[in-house]
Assembly symmetry: C2
DNA sequence: TTGAAAGCGCTAACAT
DNA sequence: ATGTTAGCGCTTTCAA
């Protein structure tokens, strides 16, 4: 419970560090930041860097951000943290951001309009220099650059990243077709997920082209807003209780597939 | 690419807001923060709040944090963003944090020692008031409170949250046993995941108690550090190629299970 | 009832 | 080759 475990010393500031060295904070700052165009003898430089390491000086990113008007931080808006798709995308984003020296704030809004608004403002208030949204229905522009992954609103100032659903459908359906499947069941994504609509359209298109029939009795619709296998289980039950035979199932999301498989084991 | 899309005005500061009102910044601050013990006529209060709303005043969290030495931010260390278990935990953490008015930075380190060290320092440098680590091998204390979920080092100043693997094993194995399964295969977790060891011990214990035999030929070990179904696929292949029969499989992680099922479909 | 001043920790411009 | 000053945007004394 201790607020400051004693195995680690009180953090030291630039000021203390400077007076410890008998120097001016500015000089120290210049050296530690390798500011060019300032002639400082190597001896002094070394002395400063040594002391910084020794006293474990950690610059206050806060103060620095305030002064430089640069936070090196971006905000990420995501519907759900426990969802495989969202976090997969976040993971890639995170890699590149960290590599580029950026950090990120995450906020998850569960597709609730007011939270989307509230959190995006909070992210900006906390100094986010840009926003990345994933599967999130943004409704207006922002005073910073915004990139929307799987967002579908055309909004000035927002760059949309769209997936190639057409290609995905082709790969999926030709694969199943080549394996001989003709009776294919589908679990459509939830309506609140912004890609569901387009994805389904691509499936329908491609199915038509390669001669796979999409049967209403074999098409079910995910509805619940959860990320556990409970998502797919009841839907699969429904499919099985319909009595129609099928030899393959197309699902668009990990958890629904897991749930479906469980239902299959339990009932089929 | 515009740095500041014009559909949103230049952010306004407390200073501007105050002079717009013909007041002192301090007064405005006091009113907007509902500081007690300051008598200000209701009229003025209203005037201020109205103007704040109107000009869309967003206080700079940066400046405020610097001044108050309070960032309302905590840092979360996690091995992998794309992993179901980690993000499930993060999701719960995120909910509570946001509800309590906190934000969080996330950093993922892929179990690499140097990154764990580097990122935890960065989180502190960015003003994290506490750290939460998930499945992360911390090696020393920090100048802030730390909670470790599924961490297994006893370190002064670090609070460990441990899972009840014993209970999990009981639930799992008695369930399978009651369904009549006797030939059970197991996919052990990767060695770098801190819970793998204890979890397996519990399984072994409980299996012994309820009379389930754990056969080496039916026990395989996950090794790869990935979060896709590729994790389980080859391991299941190995299991199948062994030729030993089994009627149930215990896996400890979503993706390995998905991979295993795919292998089963393809080969079995 | 309100304003002025100081300062959180840092850095850029301007002296020395 | 180094130091001084001012100020990022805010809040908290203290004075008017």
């Amino acid at each position: 419970m201790g607020k400051r475990p004693k195995n680690n010393p009180e953090p030291i500031g630039l000021r203390k560090l400077a007076e410890h060295l008998g120097l001016n904070p500015a000089t120290v700052s210049v050296v530690l930041n390798d500011v060019p165009g300032r002639s400082i003898p190597q001896a002094t430089r070394d002395r400063i860097k040594a002391a910084a390491k020794e006293l474990n000086y950690q610059p206050s990113h806060l103060a620095r951000s305030l002064r430089n008007r640069r936070t090196l931080t971006i905000g990420v808006l995501v519907p759900e943290l426990g969802d495989g798709y969202h976090t997969q995308v976040m993971s890639g984003i995170g890699d590149h951001l960290m590599e580029a020296g950026y950090f990120y704030f995450t906020a998850h809004h569960r597709h609730r309009k007011n939270l989307i608004e509230e959190y995006s403002q909070m992210l900006l208030g906390r100094g986010a220099e840009a926003l990345i949204s994933i599967d999130t229905k943004l409704e207006h522009g922002f005073p910073v650059p915004v990139v929307a992954v799987a967002g579908h609103n055309q909004i000035p100032g927002i760059t949309n990243i769209v997936l190639d659903h057409r290609l995905a459908a082709e790969l999926t359906l030709t694969h199943l077709h080549s394996l001989g499947h003709r009776q294919i069941a589908f679990m459509r994504g939830q309506s609140f997920s912004s890609d569901s609509q387009e994805r389904w359209q691509s499936i329908v298109e491609v199915a038509g082209e390669i001669g796979i029939e999409i049967r209403p009795e074999l098409t079910v619709q995910l509805a619940r807003d959860i990320t556990s296998p409970e998502l797919g289980y009841p839907v699969m039950q429904q499919l099985l209780s319909g009595g129609k035979k099928f030899t393959a199932l197309v699902a668009f999301n990990d958890q629904s597939a897991i749930g479906a498989i469980r239902a299959l084991q339990d009932l089929g």
